[in-house]
Amino acid sequence: MSTSLINWFKFASPASFYPMAGRLVPWFSAAALLLAAAGLWVGLAIAPTDAQQGEGYRIIFVHVPASWMSMFIYCVMAFWSALGLSFNTRLSGMMTSALAPTGALFAFLSLWTGSLWGKPMWGAWWVWDARLTSQLILFFLYLGFIALQAAIDDPRRADKAGAILALVGVVNVPIIYFSVQWWNTLHQGASVSMTKAPSMAHTMLAGMLLMALAFWAYTIAMALIRVRCIILERELTSEWVKKNAME
C-alpha cells in the first residue's frame, strides 16, 4: 500500500518528473503525427461528401476536436489547480501554466475554423451563435489566465493566483454557456443554430475521433515540453539541475 504512495510523491517532485517527461515527449509527438495523418486521411479522402454542404463540411475534422480539446484542457487545468491549492504541490502549478497556451491555441483554432465554416454555411464570417459566443468567452478566459500569470513575478504567487482564477473560471463556464444560450433563444431569427448536426456516418465519427486523439497526444507532448522548460527556469539554482539537466 505504501509503495504506491511513495511512487506518487516521487513523480510529484520536479527533480524526478523532469527526466521522465523527457522520455515521454518523443512517444507522444510521434503518436500525434501518426494519428493526425490517419485522421486527416480518413477525413479528407475517405469520408463521403455531404449532400447539403458539399466538401466544405470537412473542416469539422479540425473544428470539432479543437473545440472539445479547448474545453477539456480548461477542465484539466482546473483539476491541477484544485490539486495544487489543496496539497501545495509545486508540479501542479507548473502543469497548469504549461497547459494554458495549448488550450488557448485550440480555442482560437476552433473559433477560426468555425468562422471559415460559417462563411459558406451562413453567409457570414461571424454569427452570434451560442456555441461560437461561448467559445469566444472561453478564449478570453484563457487569455486572462495567461496574462495574470505573466504579470506576477513571484512564481509561487503566480501559481496560486492562476489556480484560483482557473477554478473561478471553471465554475463560470457552464453558467456563461447557459446564459448565452438563453440570450440566443430570446433573439431567435438573428442566428442559425449549429446544434442540429446531421446524423453522422461512421467514417466521419472515426475521422473525428482520430483527430481528437491526435490533438490529445499533441497536448500532452507540448505540455511536457513546456513543463520541462518551466522546471529548468525555476530550479536553475538547485543541485540536481546543475548535475543532470545541464549536460
Binding site: 513571484d154 512564481p155 525555476r234 536553475l236 539554482t237
Partner: protein
Amino acid sequence: MLSVSHLTCQRGERVLFRDLSFALPASQWLQVAGSNGAGKTSLLRILAGLSEPAEGQVTWKGRRLREDRAAFHADLLYLGHQGALKEELTPLENLTLGLGMEGFSPGEEAAAEALGRFGLQGREQLPTRYLSAGQRRRVLLCRLMLRPAPLWILDEPFTALDVHAVGVLSRLIERHLASGGSAVLTSHQAMPLPPGLSVTL
C-alpha cells in the same frame, strides 16, 4: 510560548535563512538582528502567520498557527513596517476604526489618553496627513496601550522616535514583559531594554 523549529525562508530563488529554531518563553523578549535584506521582516511575517515558510513550523502555545488562526491572532499584536494609517482620517479615527475591525472598542477617551501619553495631545482631530513620520509612528504605538495581547511582534519600533517617545515605548515594553507578555523586535540600534534573547540572521 512561541516556538520555531527548523524554519527555512525562501524569497524567489534566494534562501534567506535555513534551519532556524528557537523558543520564546513568557516574560522574555527576542531581538532579531541582521543586516539589511537578511530576512528580518520576512521572519516576522512568518511568525505573524502572514506568510508560509518554505520548511519548518511555528507554534504558539503548542499549536501550529494554521490550526486556529483566530485564537492566535487574538493573542497577537503585530506592527509592521507600514503604518496602516489613513492619511485622510484623524489619529483618533485611525485608532478607533482600526481597533474596531479587530473587535476592540477602547472608546474615544482611552484613545485620546493614549495619544496624550505619546505627546500627541491637541493633534487628535488633525488629519494624519499633517503629521510627521515620527508622530505617525507614535499614533501606531498607541495600539500597544489600547489592545491587550500577550505576544507583540514589532518591526523596527524605535525608528523615527524622539527621546521622549523612546522612553515611553521602552517603559511600555518593560511593563508588558513584567506582566507575563513576550515580544519579538527588530532593530538596528541597541535597545534601551533589559537583556533578552537574540537571533542573528
